[in-house]
Subunit: 300 residues, 4 copies
């Protein structure tokens, strides 16, 4: 009989919004939460007996109830609360992985009428993944996705290998653009340890942006390493980071048929292409740390 | 024989990026341009003769060439340049409609290294539509889409009509959220008249956001009218505005089965629903103006 | 004071699935329904009074209740039932426009166990739009979208106009591919008249596909006209059809740098491009009929 | 200094279409190909030296050239050709992973004019992933995604665990619907071994659909296991399969406020919900086989 291997289940993409009122000043937290539970689940697969199954509906209810009872605070904190609850409350559940997306909002000021209006901030999405395994312990990942950045210069690309199928021209000045997806792993002792997850995330994000902007780039790989190394160097709480950087190609429009030069020196016109695109992915580790973030975790 | 009715053709969704260098300070303009041309096109439809057809490929080339030669400046200005070019250069083309999306970027500062790094600003997309018809003249529309806003209070909904299928409870305090799509029509005398399109757009956007935030709302229709009226009242150059506002429902999570109250008074937890959603659409006009924006122009 | 222009509201994108059991043989109907109501709605916009407002929630409830009580049958029939209900039941509602998408499923046979298993058929979506206006009467549109077709030959493109920005090479044998969106208008006397909407739709779809496949094409415009004319010529119940055909470019890959010819004669390799794309749109009318389908109705 | 961990790069999402002419009968193959290469890439990350880097542009060119020179045949065969080429031709490249999507087309018959017209078949996408590592050898995965199936009956759900947050009612007759994503691993000795990949895929797909349709289900987990076990039991060339099955909830519409019963016995009306959804994932293995497909490989 075929064997059951790794399995997990839960409610995915629950959208929970938490409003907290501090007099006329309101605060807004906006998350998408996906729960994946594992444990002693042979029977439900083999025979359809649900005796060990906490329903996915209940995992959804728990998300709303916990948002009310405990507040959110940060995706990492909220994920830790949820993961611990599931693994501690049901003996059949030995592992809980909580994935979270957090959507940022900025205020639209309404002086004299309190502070209760918000504009969704579209500059990327904050992500987190918290896993608790009753045997393997805790893992907390933080990240971001959809952060689109572009340098109009300080990017070259040449000296590459040439095979039969290589036709690309070398360039000394190109546009470099990407949508940053990053996921980093915290060194963390478990729920007994407190941490300012929001400050840690804001700092890591700032370092990623700054390293992208300041790296004089000879390849997107070099820029990627520079971004990852910057985070590892400046954030002692982070041991590992994985980056996935699509090379959003901006091709110089060929205007020579129209008697125009389209050189970069006084500015130029580019065609922003969709597909195909280069895709550069790598992990950067603190010296001595072990890589734990899966290869495709930044492509989900 | 069946008759040919209204027809148009052109290259859609050309993504053009224009970099302008002012020493070490670079400027970035990022557009999507769709060209639709009409004119004496019976033959190409009836017999396949292309003698009157300017290729869609040429319209795309024109976008790149014009971005280099004339610069962009604003989507409205660039659309006007293109529309005029097509209708004036080919006798078979009597009408050109240019649709544009403009993507905003903010700077990532790199002091000491010039200013050439950018972060895509995701707080909505600026839109424009410029039409030149050799008979009917000019029409310039400006707009925005994907601007997501939310009020955590100052929204009530009650006193509505009740039929056999009405089960909705009345509410005195709800979350009101929407993705604003708006399109407004300029009074404009044609290319001889200059205008600061960017300033006009920034002001209209500000009025829309402020009116959304400050309206104490008894229905999304009332908020919509308040937003449109604010623009008409404050911007003499705008005669008509159409708004499409999905009601992004945020339902109070029912926590009573868990012994919790989830009232709004000290903050509450909401389920952010996807579909279905209410959709509220209307045109607001300057007194005496004629409505010209099509009913579905804000749904494209 | 700014004036209120055209306005409409209702619940959009209600997803209703209807199962009908005929013993062990089950039937499945799967729709997305969007309701837009208009009428005497000044007050709700100007003052927020909801006295004339049927809630969008009630329009959603009506969709489910009608699906149970009256069945669906076809998107057109179901839209007619809903439109009539709204305009006849509330004096404040004078116009109802119902948009519908219908998703096809095919059977997965399970002999011996009844017939209750289905596979979603992804070959395009059937659409309909029914409008009832107490003054203007009825309009029934049917259509389809997302039907992707491709001819590997019998398509040429040459003899086109050449301006300064024209660089395209002529071709005598190209791939022609498009995603068909079509919307056609029925001649129809109102609810007193019966019609087999499903048979009418199946025939129109078949004619569109066959005309695309059989037209030896010198331009996509010619193919479009051929498709529309075929429907008008063969379906007396249809007076007008509008088509929107993106030219899904398939560019011959340039293999000459690798010493290969990539000619079409014995088959060739193409790069399927995303954006930009040509976009060809037109209305085809029965001789003497009036065009009523809006220009952008096929772009929603 | 931070260390470089696992890294890979290449051109993603190259869309290649191959037409083969057999007289007037044409054949169409339509793929999306993503190349990811790994090897001795420290220098490009640390210093930006591209000496070991085959450009992503060259990997794209290779896709087109190979499609012409060698034909496609099946995504698995084409992936094997590409993976072998990259790892054998460049000493710096020690691992190549090729991901492929294959889009099916059916014929639109045009008797008397040859056979060159096609309709895109939207009933899911065929996938493959071929990896060659000069040390670890070969891995060939096949799969599918976007195959949407639904049973209108023969699905129950009850007897589940109840905690404080459980409110779900038990049901003896529900709609069960899902979008199947599956990925299975072949036992395969390397390029020396021939295989009919298309026949193997068609059979595995058929088994998955049939097992979904025929399983009398007490939980989606049980259905999942039944689908996976069916493939393992019937296809000796497949050792492992991973399935990801979202539970596309169809909730019975509550019609009691309108005096209607909406029971399933004579058919019923359902609300097809989007989010949140249950997500059930598991691996099924041949007895004794080792699990190699990553946990999230079916979520990409």
């Amino acid at each position: 009989m075929p064997t059951l291997g790794q399995n997990q289940y839960g409610k995915a993409e629950t959208r929970v919004v938490r409003v907290t009122r501090d007099g006329a000043t309101h605060h807004l937290e906006d998350l998408k939460v996906s729960v994946a539970l594992s444990g002693d689940m042979d029977e439900v697969h083999y025979s359809g007996s649900n005796a060990a199954v906490l329903t996915t509906d209940a995992t959804k209810n728990t998300v709303f109830a916990f948002a009310k009872e405990h507040g959110i605070g940060s995706p990492e904190r909220f994920g830790i609360l949820l993961a611990r609850h599931f693994t501690e409350s049901q003996p059949t559940l030995t592992r809980a992985r909580i994935r979270l997306e957090s959507y940022a909002w900025e205020r639209v000021p309404t002086p004299g009428e309190g502070d209760h209006s918000f504009l969704r901030d579209g500059r990327g999405i904050r992500t987190a993944q918290v896993t608790h395994d009753t045997e393997d312990g805790w893992e907390v990942l933080s990240g971001l996705t959809g952060v689109t950045v572009l340098n109009t210069t300080h990017s070259e690309f040449h000296g590459f290998l040439r095979d039969r199928y290589t036709t690309l021209a070398e360039t000394r000045d190109r546009v470099l653009a990407t949508d940053v997806t990053a996921l980093w792993r915290h060194r963390w002792a478990g729920p007994a340890e407190d941490r300012d997850w929001n400050a840690s995330h804001a700092a890591a994000r700032r370092h990623l942006l700054d390293a992208f902007a300041r790296t004089y780039s000879y390849s997107l790989q070099q820029t990627l390493y520079g971004m990852g190394a910057r985070v590892i160097d400046h954030r002692p709480e982070i041991d590992e980071i994985r980056l996935s950087l699509p090379n959003k190609h901006h091709f110089l429009a060929d205007l020579t048929p129209f008697g125009m030069e389209n050189d970069t020196e006084d500015g130029a016109v580019y065609f922003a292409a969709d597909r195909p695109y280069g895709l550069i992915e790598a992990t950067v580790l603190r010296d001595g740390a072990t890589a734990r973030i899966p290869i495709d975790a930044t492509n989900l």
